[in-house]
Assembly symmetry: C2
Homo-oligomer: 327 residues x 2
């Protein structure tokens, strides 16, 4: 409910230019989402009518699997098929915004001059609600800009990365030979979120072992083991510049096939609804948390904290008093 | 507000036996905290009067620095000084409870027959609120059992580990030569939380480089750079079985000195109050979240999710409606 600092007309103009696919406007909106807690609420309202169309593909895996090259190669195949593509690269462990980094410019030079490819990286910064709030909003900017597909790429295999790729309709989990990543990935629970496994650098020794390990882990069950469920295919690739690398067109075919299946089964709508619910809930909890922190109600949190620390009150009873005061 | 499944007398008896230092009762209470969402609220109320006395020491660092051996060695020095010691080993990435694992028994065999040393490991499990709620409660069990010191040890350097050692009065961050951990640690923000740096395996080549790196990073500032602030000492150790290893008594002296300083400055009370506030807030948010999930108020979250997914509503406005319905 805070008043935005900038005049509404300015923001509306920016959104309009972004919906026309203007790269600078798209970049500015994502920078706003990263930095400007006051504008983001108004921005969300302005963007909403233009959203709900883009298909989101998530891409994750441990360092060294070739995620950037793979992203660039997938973009190349999608451009062959005339799709407008957005790329959001998220590093949850970095405090730096990618917007101003050299990395953005040297990444994916192959697409630098293509005005139907939009590339941005994003970091956490102080945004209220963090990436759980910022990532879906950034995806909506690409969506509103008319992207048919948005690739969201993260750098690792931790919980933050999992939370990010959960925003995707189809999630690719990359492995490669020689990284010991099969076990790493299993530990981080990343296998559970894969819709498609990609074994990249498949021309290197050990690729067949990675494939075998993945098959074995699939055989152990999980959410995909129900009868009729989508069983994540394992695609072997050799990503390189351009669309010609081994397995790349097959990979994009598989992404399209998965998307088609989600659409016809109604699962796409269900999953998007569930994601929106999580997002709404996260925003509601953030609002309530602000209310708690500002000492809403008559019960000062500081006093409750002292009571609990001294053992005169238990934390559950303290929480009850706090919630009662808020309601 | 759910009714506990077990009779209240049973739980009260268990708490009483734990306060007498009975190992089995202590173990059972921590198992309850891990597994039994219904008992934990009543347990908190029963434990509270016995808490607020134990001093909590956190211990973290990347794999390979020798955390288990260090924990065992610190226990040995503290036992020399006649303290009753609890050890809580937490693995936030493991779905397994440590209670039944062989690990617990082979860990720290040196103290296995000492009835004034209590050792437990703990994992996340499905506990509502996760480790943010379970760890402080488990620490209270050791506190109520009469432990003078509780060591809480975690296995890594990620955000979950940081959240766990934040529960400590004094936090030790371990490094060792040859792990490339200085940079790792800096990335994970773990340097910010250290009250004492421990360079273990200090008899190995490269130890002086680790010390130099830490000094250099300290010189770059941070929360400890204010005038008069506690500047985290860097202690070189060679942990081994028993209290005799290089630097171990010096380390425990330094922990005691830090504790003394926190006590006399009033910072201990302040920090404990702040931690209790975070805990209360986490419990309150969990309660509110349950309220949201169960569709409190008239606005069905499912419907809001569909509206947002379809672009007919923005997530902030949806969150506003949800919160309004709750209030």
């Amino acid at each position: 409910m805070t008043r935005p600092a900038r005049p509404a007309g300015d923001l509306a103009g920016l959104v309009e230019r972004a919906t026309q696919g203007q790269a600078r406007a798209i970049g500015k909106l994502i920078t706003l989402i990263e930095n400007d807690g006051t504008a983001v609420r108004e921005l969300a309202a302005l963007l909403a009518p233009y959203t709900g169309r883009a298909y989101v593909v998530g891409l994750t895996g441990p360092p060294g699997v070739g995620k950037s090259t793979m992203t660039s190669a997938i973009v190349a195949v999608m451009r062959e098929r005339d799709a407008r593509v957005g790329v959001l690269a998220v590093d949850p462990s970095s405090p730096f915004s990618g917007g101003a980094l050299l990395g953005d410019r040297i990444r994916m030079q192959a697409h630098a001059l293509d005005d139907r490819v939009h590339i941005r990286s994003m970091a956490t910064r102080g945004h209220l609600g963090g990436l759980a709030v910022a990532v879906p909003q950034a995806l909506r900017v690409f969506d509103a800009a008319g992207c048919d597909v948005v690739l969201v790429e993260t750098v690792g295999v931790g919980q933050s990365e999992i939370d990010i790729v959960r925003q995707a309709d189809t999630t690719l989990v990359l492995s490669a030979p020689g990284l010991g990543d099969a076990i790493q990935a299993a530990k981080a629970g990343i296998l559970e979120i894969a819709d498609i496994f990609v074994v990249n650098k498949a021309d290197r020794p050990g690729a067949e072992i990675v494939v075998k390990d993945l098959r074995h882990m699939q055989s152990l069950g999980g959410r995909h083991s129900a009868p009729g469920a989508w069983r994540p295919p394992i695609i072997e690739t050799v990503a390189e510049d351009g669309p010609e690398g081994r397995g790349l067109r097959q990979l994009v075919d598989t992404i399209e096939r998965h998307g088609e299946r989600l659409r016809t089964s109604g699962d796409l709508q269900d999953a998007r609804g569930a994601r929106a619910r999580s997002e709404i809930e996260a925003l509601a909890v953030a609002a309530l948390r602000r209310g708690l922190a500002s000492g809403a109600g008559q019960t000062p949190l500081a006093e409750l904290g002292e009571e609990v620390a001294a053992g005169r009150l238990d934390p559950y009873s303290a929480a009850d008093r706090l919630v009662a005061a808020l309601r």
